[in-house]
Symmetry: C2
Subunit: 501 residues, 2 copies
């Protein structure tokens, strides 16, 4: 079996090299590439993607996976080799069901729709993207239909991002969460708005970047194996376990934008940096699902980075960085400003409490579109209605309505939004388990120390990479299935204090 | 034939995509990559290189080239399609003679030798690299021997960089040049040394970079299709005709270092940016030979960038950029400083006049090593002897002797140095032809205008990419073979005035 295993690993390594090279090309495209490079770059990335797909779906890979089944079954479930064979088989079965030509059609359609969207959004012109989005919906349904035997047509698409979750599971969890969230939001928004004007007085870029870098260095993001560059839309990308990069953007009149996006992306990056190096070059070398990945970004951004204890330590340093801007702004005022809750229009700017309501709207609309109970031509109107019902706000246009998120316009309809809220729920669940093991964590955060939490996350979550599915990992870490209670409890405690609920 | 031609072009485009992707990975490695990314990056680049080699040397490519021969012969020699088939066949024949495993062995050996060299050079320890260099020489000979029918064993290696040139040709040209140069160097170095202390008084990095960028923008380097980043060893790299990048480094106590390397790399980059977009994605989309490429970097660095007229225009701007440093430094003093001629140890820091003597030493030693008339164990001593004889200087150690240039320690022995001096010779030859066509060029340079020269170079040299070999291109542009006289005349005139010879 060792020869077959080595053959499989060599093939996977070549696929990994191609995928990581594509990631470098994509990072460069978003950070440094001059505009003249766009056309050739798109082609270069498509070529690498095609070669990777060809090599991964090669029938020889399928034969090796078959030949290795007895070996896999002889090993412990959680061993590196058994996990490699199991996860590779799952991906192989999925990818061989979807024809390469279809993948290319979807990628090309996504790229051209994205181009139109970049013009249609500023022009507030949903009609321009409508026919393209109709094709996207058609392609998304076809994608789902390549995978047979689903309960809900969204299941195969959710599966792709959050393996092991079904539309029905997500609906149930989201329903429970909504029932808890709505009264909290109502209670908070009946009070006077928090004053966050201190965040908008003009913070020079260099100081913002320096402060953010300093914080994530103390978090434990390893700059020998990463770096931060500027871009339009912040992201985290992995070129190897030894090179996991983040990006940010800076708005001088919004202190929170770069800072919290930096903490957020650093959370993603620490997860990827924490994967066991034994898994390098395999499909296991990365976070396991969209939801678990997001649980780490949101934990470091919100549970840690917007906590009172964190700022008791860091606020004096921030005041030192920006003495003119923060002179006379108390810690209390600042803490309330960065945790201001409000009914708003834009998901990416939303606070911790209302954020999930934004996500649920998108998730529900995705399901309705895929089911056929909602037409694309009615989508902009449906969006406005849901925002009025769920968040009590009316968008003046489609630019800040249905056109606001890139996902549907660049990728697919279905499976792309649930991970954000699953991540929030999981951040609360995992944090509770970390506190049970190490009750000293909040006090350490208050001293600017993060080792205990970081080490707990590394040994319980990060090191495993994609060995376990999200449900398996949740079971291993918490001894039970996904539960919303710890997250709700976290929100109730924090916002109960902030708003004297 | 159109189906075969399209098939060939598709295959070449895929190879080009892989090669350009490798270039992006290499650029990132030299500019932004954190140290932790090194191991995986080397593997990723090797994988892309292997795939590119496999695809280019595929027997199907050979069959297509055979099938396309009648079509090629029906076309004008200089048509895009005939040139594509001709140049591809030449590269195909070469690459199919060298086994992929041998290429990989050579690449791996180069990478490990380079690692040792980075430590051996600061430690002044030639003995440490000696056994590795012996293997490099063995590999270099084997590389040459894959190509049968050469006159001199260096010919196939020279051919790889400067197709159409043989060791005997280079020897003859270099002999003529040396005979002319030695008396000039002697006459200059008998005089008092020029005072270049004004270049070493401390120039802040930001101002140096801004001034250099401003000059090359006026040269015509297109920043919509390029950019400059910082690195250790400046280079130019091409990701597509729409994305040709340069790099530089800054020494605050040496104004000339960043500035002239920027002008140099911009010369390379303007050549690559000037290739006809009809050649994009083919083996023709790039400069034709090491020598012709270097002729463009040296023309923009030296003939233009170190000319009196250039500085009559730009020196007041430089003084404005650095008022404290250049206050009271006359244009004459500055002009003499940037054109200071001296017998020195380091090739890359050498002036225009002595530079070629440095190159010739390396070229001669390469030939002796390949012929077997010099052993690696005697190389360090032979190096010192030649520097004493040819340049009249004695290196205190091997660090600034045989260990100074990376080429032999990272790549190959043979074929890597002649291009530098061929480039100098060609810069003079091409510039003379440009002046014959447009005598107004020097006056334009004196007004900070470069369009006439740039356009002449584009239409006579750049647009053709690699359609023509260097000898063919020289014949087309000058109506005759390579001649040293215009270059010698250029040196005599310029340095005759500077040193009242």
């Amino acid at each position: 079996m060792q020869a077959e295993l080595q053959d499989l690993k060599n093939r996977l390594l070549e696929v990994d090299d191609l995928n990581r090279a594509t990631a470098v090309l994509s990072w460069d495209q978003s950070t440094y590439m001059p505009s003249g490079g766009a056309e050739a770059r798109a082609r270069q990335m498509a070529t690498l993607g095609k070669l990777s797909h060809e090599k991964f779906t090669d029938v020889a890979v399928g034969r090796l996976l078959d030949a290795l089944r007895p070996y896999e079954e002889s090993l412990p479930y959680d061993s590196d080799d058994a996990s490699l064979i199991r996860v590779t088989r799952r991906q192989y079965e999925r990818m061989t069901k979807v024809p390469a030509a279809f993948v290319a059609e979807m990628t090309n359609h996504g790229a051209s729709t994205y181009q139109v969207w970049t013009e249609a959004r500023p022009a507030n012109d949903f009609r321009r993207v409508q026919p393209l989005l109709e094709k996207t919906l058609d392609l998304s349904r076809r994608m789902a239909n390549y995978i047979s035997g689903y309960e809900h047509i969204a299941d195969p698409l959710i599966d792709q991002m959050d393996y092991g979750m079904k539309a029905a599971d997500v609906r149930r969890v989201f329903g429970e969460l909504r029932a808890q969230l709505v009264p909290i939001v109502r209670a908070i928004t009946q009070q006077a708005e928090a004053d966050d004007s201190c965040l908008r007085v003009g913070y020079p870029e260099a100081g913002q970047l320096a402060f953010g870098l300093d914080v994530i260095k103390q978090y434990g993001y390893d700059f020998n194996r990463g770096r931060q560059d500027k871009t339009h839309h912040p992201f985290c990308t992995t070129f190897s376990i030894g090179d996991v990069r983040i990006t940010t953007r800076v708005r001088e009149n919004d202190l929170g934008d770069a800072l919290f996006s930096t903490l957020h992306e650093a959370g993603h990056a620490m997860y990827e940096q924490g994967v066991s190096t034994a898994l390098e070059g395999t499909p296991l070398a990365g976070g396991t699902s969209a939801g678990v990945h997001e649980s780490q970004s949101r934990m470091w951004e919100n549970i840690v980075g917007r906590s009172r204890g964190f700022w008791e330590h860091f606020y004096p340093q921030l005041q030192q960085q920006f003495p003119a801007q923060l002179k006379g702004v108390s810690l209390d005022t600042f803490y309330r400003a960065i945790n201001k809750v409000q009914r708003s229009l834009i998901r990416v700017d939303a606070d911790e409490v209302t954020y999930n309501l934004h996500v649920m709207i998108r998730f529900d609309l995705e399901l309705q579109l895929l089911e056929g109970s909602l037409e694309i031509r009615d989508l902009a109107e449906a969006w406005h209605e849901r925002y009025e019902t769920d968040l009590g706000v009316t968008a003046p246009d489609d630019r800040d309505g249905v056109l606001q998120d890139v996902h549907w316009y660049a990728f697919i309809i279905g499976g792309v939004f649930q991970g954000y809220t699953l991540g929030n729920i999981l951040s609360g669940l995992f944090y509770q388990k970390a506190l049970e093991a190490h009750p000293e964590i909040p006090a350490e955060i208050g001293r600017g120390k993060f080792d205990t939490l970081h080490n707990w996350l590394k040994s319980n979550i990060y090191q495993h990479g994609s060995k376990f599915t999200a449900p398996e990992l949740i079971e291993r870490v918490t001894g039970g299935p996904l539960r919303i209670e710890p997250y709700i409890q976290y929100l109730r405690t924090k916002y109960g204090e902030l708003y004297q609920l």
